[in-house]
């Protein structure tokens, strides 16, 4: 591998859909001169309710497509795929570095509230595997971790209903399923890339003293450190280029994805690939 040439390759970012654009946004802010190529596997979303075997198969296929395009680092910007398929992806992509969002999210939570009580809001698949629990407990033996699957919040974010009482009522109903002492944690972790869009909704339900952390900004820091360690930071001075790929539905991707990215997208900005 030629370092000078590899430096100029884009960072690959992969998600089941558009939620990972919150991670892409953080990467652009942290690394403005890097070229980025994003693939949303919209033909197979959502991953969160599928079986581990299906999730791993889909994730490896999507990551393989980015590898063929030529990338220098893969960011798995999907909590479910990070929880379920990170080992399989690292095996497939070797020697390319692969960064998931679960470990950075756990790092951010432990840093914000050492020895704290953490509540992880995530998809069914992420909760089933206890991905955040394991990652947090590995960093902080005295932490306590509760994980809560909130599929309807994913749909709510996809629908773009980011204001109003419906999100509040949905979250309250999920929280009602927990024991009393787990409903007001020290830290809430947004364990799904859709949930940063619902930050206001979540803040309205939890205690003011509770900190809300998400994986996006810490993942960007971890990615920047990895590229720096490998001598692979892009040295170009102009702003990096952005390429958006999806496996289905450019119109919907543009409409919903624009909200996640925080800027208007047109269907023409998205290239559909058939995996």
């Amino acid at each position: 591998m030629n370092i000078a040439r590899t430096k100029n390759l884009p960072i690959g970012i992969f998600d089941s859909g558009v939620g990972g654009l919150t991670v892409l946004k953080a990467l652009r802010e942290a690394l403005p001169n890097e070229d980025l190529i994003y693939l949303g596997d919209t033909a197979r979303l959502p991953y969160g309710t599928k079986s581990p075997a299906s999730i791993a198969r889909y994730a490896c296929r999507a990551a393989g497509h980015l590898q063929e395009q030529g990338i220098k680092l893969l960011v798995v910007a999907c909590n479910t795929a990070s929880a379920v398929a990170l080992d399989a992806l690292r095996e497939q992509m070797h020697p390319l570095p692969v960064i998931g969002v679960v470990e950075p999210g756990a790092m951010a939570a432990v840093k914000a509230r050492p020895r704290g009580s953490h509540l992880v809001l995530a998809t069914e698949a992420t909760v089933r595997l206890g991905a955040y629990r394991h990652a947090i407990e590995a960093l902080d033996e005295e932490a306590s971790v509760t994980e809560l699957a909130c599929e309807l919040l994913v749909s709510l974010a996809e629908e773009g209903w980011l204001d109003g009482d419906i999100g509040v009522d949905i979250l309250r109903r999920y929280l009602d399923g927990l024991d009393d002492d787990r409903r007001q944690p020290d830290c809430v972790i947004l364990g799904c890339t859709h949930f940063p869009l619902l930050r206001d909704t979540i803040a309205a339900v939890i205690d003011d003293a509770t900190v809300i952390v998400d994986s996006a900004s810490t993942t960007a820091v971890v990615a920047a450190a990895a590229l720096s360690d490998l001598g692979l930071l892009n040295t170009q001075t102009e702003p990096g280029a952005l390429t958006l790929l999806a496996t289905d539905g450019a119109t919907r991707f543009a409409r919903v994805g624009g909200q996640f990215l925080g800027e208007d997208l047109s269907p023409d900005d998205i290239r559909i690939v058939d995996l």
Copy 2:
């Protein structure tokens, strides 16, 4: 094709997930001696937010699997697949008869409220194609039809939250997007197989004089008539056998599907097939 042998084949029922079990339930009641084989394409659900090309590809693959198992009639128990892919499915399955749920739903609506105003609650894909509008207008020139995409109600039914105010609030918010004169129609059509589970929620929001129709029972009547016309009704006297197939997630299928079928299912009742 040998009629005596074909008679003994099961009816194939195909859906993107578990929602079609409401149609299967109606078929069992109308045709208790028929063997039924159901395939839920849970690895690729939901269809409602995907592109027409992807929906048609998935539907044809799933239907092809049922055809290989040996069936005498295919019921497409998914509104989205019926709206998008019925012609493609009929072409592929020919000469096997293929029945969708959109036309029976339209028939039921026109019969219930001739020259009426109809409100169709459905998925994005079904609405985008105007499937119910075309089917109703073909039957009743004086009917007026409004179609409304309600993706969050699909997720709500999948989550099993069939009571409480959240569904009411979600439906009200969708209805708020309509002009005043369209919010209180003569007839509401449940244009997604998930929505019969939310019948109480929907009834709580609409006017008492409004009739609610779904496709399930009319589809069963149409299927029975088709088999009778072809001389293919099963003449066995014992209750028909039921085979349940899914492309992913037996545990989730059993948990959610049991609600749709109205009886307890165990993961062992579902055979996972890899398409």
